[in-house]
Every structure is written in C-alpha cells, then in structure tokens.
Amino acid sequence: MYLPRFSRLANNLAKEQARARLGPHRQDQIQAPWNFTMSQTEISLLLQSRVYVWSSLLAGFVGITGLLFGHTPIALTALAFALLLGLSSTRHRLAEPHEHGPLAHLIVIFLCAATLISMIGLNPLVEAWSFVVPLLLFLFYPLPRAIRLAALYSLAFVVLGWLFFDALERMQVIINFVLCGALTGVFVYLREAREQALKPLTRTDDLTLALTPEHLYADLEKEIQRSEREGTGLAVLALGIDNENPADQVLRDQRLNLLGQCLNQQLRAFDSYYRLKTDEFLLLMPNTGAKQGLKAAEKLRVNLRKQLSTNEHKVSVSIGITTVNVGEDAAALVANALQALHSSQTEKSNHCQLWTSNDNE
C-alpha cells in the first residue's frame, strides 16, 4: 500500500542528495531515473537533516511571535535554538551515523539546560520541549550512552518538578512525562529489534553499496569452479583510489559513496564488487578473459576519473587485473590482483596493470 509513495520519496531524497553532492555546476548530470538503492544510513540521515530544518523553522517562528507578543526570554531561547538547529542541518557524515559533531552536543546540552531552568522559573513554553528530549537523545547517541543520559535527564526533571511545581500540577506533569519516556522506550526497542533482525541479512556496505568481504572467498571459490566447468574466463580486478584520503571525513564519505554508485551503474548485471579496505575494492567479472578484463578496466578507470574529479580536486583510480589460471585458489587470485594494483600505484598512478608472474621480483 505504501510502496509507490515510499519509493518516490526515496527517489526524491536521492536526487536531492546527488544535487547537494555534485554542487551547482554539475546539476546537468542528474537525470530523472535514479534507480539505485539508498542505504539505511543515508535515508535516516537525510530525514534527520529534514527534521532539523523544520524544527529550526518552527523554533524561529515561535521566537519571532514571542518577540511580537512581548515574551522576550522565551523568544530569545527559541531563537537561539533555531539558530543552533539551522547551523547543524548542513553537514553530516555518511559513514558513522552516531558520530555527530560538537553542534549536536551543543543542541542537546542547550535543550536540556533550557527545559530544566525553565521549570524553576515556570516558563510555560519551554517545559513542553522536555517531552522531546528523550526522543532526541536516542536519535543522536549510541544506545548505552543515550540510556544513561535519558535516565539522568528524567531524574533531574522529576526532582525539579517535585520541588518547583505546585501540588496540583506536579503529578500531572510528572506522570505524563514518565509515560512519554516509556513510549519513547517502546520506539527505541522497536528500532533495535528491527536492526538486530536486519543485521544478518545485510550483505552490503552502507556507504558504497558494495558487498562486504565476509563472503568474498566463498563466492570467489564458487566462481572459480564454475569457470572451470563452463570453460570460460574469470577476471578479478583490484581497484584503489590513488589520491591521499582527504582529511575531511565528510568529503571522503561522499567520494566513496559516489564511487560505489558509479561501480553499481557501470558493471554488468552479473559482475559483483566487494569493499576490502577503506578505499580498495575487489571486482569479480565472470566470463571475462585477460584482454577483455583489461579493456573493461581501462574504461572503468577513465569513467571513474571523470565522475569522481571535481573542479578543485583531480581524483584517479588504479586497477590491478588478474585472471584465473589452472590450480589457483581464491586467496592466490586476490593476492595477485592486489599485488598488480600496488605495483601500478607505486610506479605511476591512474593506470591499469595486468598481473604477470615475474612481478614477484
């Protein structure tokens, strides 16, 4: 029932993300059908930044109306909050969803402090925000830390409520707050339960959509058997980024993400790619001999250089190629491909090299 709407939303998000990534000067490259799949992390990050923007707008609105109606302290608090949210909506890391910058800490500290202080002064606007705090904590921090912080915050809230609210309101607020906390706990439990169930099923790396290396050797062994049975070739390509990793992790994540999408689009339906290390990938190309493999690698190298480079940074990749020989097992093939890659990277970057046995010397 939700399917069409759901995929449309994911598609729109993907387009938006691509636009943000490529910058205004490359907008023309974005075409309508973006049918690559988005990873969990990407979707959740995109939604998070959307929530930031909307919350920021809401808080800003409250701040401005507060000024108009003469509630200056509330208005200033709301405006400061809006500013913080607006600032942090701009940049996110793709790889570690829970690793938020100092701004996220600032938002949480600010919100906690504002709500708790407002309870002492009985400020009717800000205390309502305290219901949001547990949900936000579980969104920002990894589970153990979020539990500790939420428990601490709830304790502070209950104690302050007990001390500063009049008897009539005291229980109303505390009971409703505790109920909200319990319901938040249910939300978090559902999230963790789903994540646990998903874990064994996900075989792909979140950032690049590449397969994870756990199954590499088993899959490669199967492919070797099959190439022997069918008498067809099998090429194994090791691909690495030549340039230094940028110090900026956001940029690095974006580059890897783009690389993964390019690989996803340019390989044939029955090729598969695995992420070995941060910026090294292994590509299995069944039914491909040495000559075809080299040709495919050259094409890939040229295309990737074109796609990954921006105006400021030239990015290039090198590829080591090896094909299956009689009696070679999976481990030997992987080692050979990596050796060819490393020797091509040390000699000259932006280059494809076929593995030959005298490379050993």
Partner: protein
C-alpha cells in the same frame, strides 16, 4: 524466526503501549481525585477504560479478525475527551496531549497517525487560542509539531526497516529453499550472463501431482511438511552451481546454468523417477510433474522464461501427470 518476530511484534507493542497509557490514566485519576478536580477524574477514568479496552482488543486480535478502524476510534475518542477539558484546565489537559501523540504513532499505521495528529494539532491549538492567549496556542502548536515530527521520523524509519527486512530475506521460511524474489533476481543475472557467454540456460518448474486432493485429505499442515521434504530431496539431487526455489504455496523451480535442452530433460527425468521411489513420511506414494524451458534467442526476459516453464508444466499435467514436458517453440 524473522517471520514470527515481524508478525508478533505489532500486537505485543499495542498491548504494551495501551497498558502503559491505561496505568498512567489510572494514576492521574487518583491524583486528580485527591485534589478534587472531578472533571479530570472522569476524563482519566474514561481514558483508562478506553485504553484497557484497546489492550484487550489487541490481545483478541491475535486470534480473531477485528476491524483495524476500532483503534482509530479509540484514539479519536481519547483525543476529544482531553480536548474537551482544555477550557477548564488548559495546562493539565495540554500535557496529556503529548503522550497521545507518541501513542498514536505506535498504534496506527504511519499515514493514519500523521492525519490523526495533524487534526488533533489544529483542533487543540484552536481551542487553546480561544480560551487562552494567542502566544500559548502558538507555543503549544510548535512543541507539539516538533514532538510529532520526531515521532514520525521514528515510525517512518521503522516502517522502512520492516520493508527492507522483507526485501532482503532470500529464503522461504517453511522449506529453506530460496524464495521467488531471489529467483527472479538470480534468473535475471543468469540470463544476462548466458547472453554474454552464449552458454545455454534452463529452468524447471515442478509440482506434486494431485496436491489439492492431498491437502484436502490431510490438511494444510501436512502439505507444508511435504514441501519441506521435497525441498530437502531436491537440494540433494542438484549439482553444484544449480539452485532451487519455492513459491511458498505449491511450485518449486530449479535454475540450471550451462544446461542445454537435452541436459535438462535428463535431470528432470531423474528427479521424476527419484520422487516416485523416494520414501516419504506420512504418504505412501507420490509422483511429480515437471515442465522445462531453455533460453533461446527469442526469450530473453525473466517472465517469459518462467511462463514457458509453467506452460510446459500444465502440459505435463494435462497429459496425465507423472511426466516431464519441455516447452516447444
């Protein structure tokens, strides 16, 4: 295991969250009684009854089919009760609306919950605006929208993860064979590959003969047990590189790369004979019919290859069961 957890999660969460809310309502009723706010006592008591009913209903729903709309009605009734208290007790009633927002996202489907909360937001803000000042109404609307937005984010991600769970699972739970989604994906890959390498590719569709009569006689459960046994047998018979799939109801499929028309007939015949001689638990004698189809230059897509195998299978069944048939072009 995943199957059970995803079907049981919903009623259990509902029972839990209704129960929590009912408890909180009871506590509130007691507190308000102590302080003599009798209108609020009535509201809290009715909310308690409603939530307890919702909890019981969710429990019953595990066995009996009850209309889903009832949950919507319970929430709407609760919301209206709380809103009706706003004129007399603005602050008290306002605080009770926040948990209701979270509750609705846990109980209703995403879109219904979003609609419910938008309606409630507008209604409550208008009432507050009417009986209190404008700024209180705006402040309430903003904080309620923020809470609702984050709750919706959680609910949306949960919905999305549930979908991925279905998308990513590749095995049929009952038989351990791969499921049909995985069949279509793998077949698509193999067709491309066969096209590229110009090697042959064949598939087989397999069905137990007179399966409907068997199930009518022995019950649905023994049908499932039979499918599991058959899956085990097929797994033992196919070669390395072949794979078998089950559509979850009656039909098995075998995917045989690098297998020409003559080859697939030999394999299908061997499976037919083996099924006839195999010792089955809980059934004396059993035969199967098989329909084969091979990739040719005019069938290049997944659906036509599958429908060819199905045509061949119904041909085999029409010709008297317990036989192998190949699709003729």
């Amino acid at each position: 295991m995943n199957q059970t957890s995803s079907t049981h999660l919903k009623p259990h969460t509902r029972i839990l969250v209704y129960g929590l809310t009912a408890m909180a309502a009871l506590l509130l009723a007691y507190e308000n009684y102590l302080y003599g706010l009798y209108e609020l006592v009535y509201t809290a008591l009715i909310v308690f009854v409603l939530c307890a009913a919702g909890s019981g209903l969710s429990w019953v729903q595990k066995r009996v089919n009850v209309r889903e709309a009832v949950h919507g009605l319970i929430l709407v009734a609760t919301a209206l009760l709380i809103v009706s208290d706003i004129p007399a007790h603005v602050r008290e009633a306002k605080f009770s609306l926040y948990p209701l927002c979270l509750l609705s996202f846990l109980i209703l489907p995403l879109r219904q919950a979003a609609r419910f909360n938008t309606g409630l937001l507008v209604l409550a803000s208008l009432v507050i605006w009417n009986y209190d000042n404008t700024f209180t109404a705006i402040a309430f609307a903003a904080s309620y929208a923020m809470l609702g937005g984050i709750a919706m984010l959680y609910a949306w991600l949960h919905h999305h993860r549930s979908r991925s769970l279905v998308e990513l699972s590749i095995h049929d739970a009952g038989t351990g064979a791969y499921n049909m989604r995985h069949f279509e994906r793998t077949l698509d890959k193999e067709i491309h590959r066969a096209d590229d390498s110009s090697l042959p590719l064949s598939i087989i569709a397999l069905e137990v003969d007179y399966l409907d009569q068997f199930i009518a006689l022995n019950g649905q459960h023994s049908g499932k047990a039979l499918a599991a046994q058959l899956s085990e047998m097929l797994k033992g018979m196919i070669r390395a590189g072949d794979s078998h799939y089950y559509d979850g109801t009656r039909r098995f499929y075998l995917l045989l790369p690098n297998t020409p028309e003559e080859g697939v007939l030999v394999i299908a015949e061997r499976i037919r004979r083996q099924a006839g001689e195999h010792g089955w638990q809980g059934i004396e004698h059993l035969t199967v019919s098989l329909g084969c189809s091979s990739l040719t230059s005019d069938t290049k897509d997944v659906q036509s290859l599958i429908s060819e195998a199905q045509t061949a299978l119904s041909e085999a069944q029409k010709n008297g069961h317990n036989r192998v048939s190949h699709f003729l072009h």
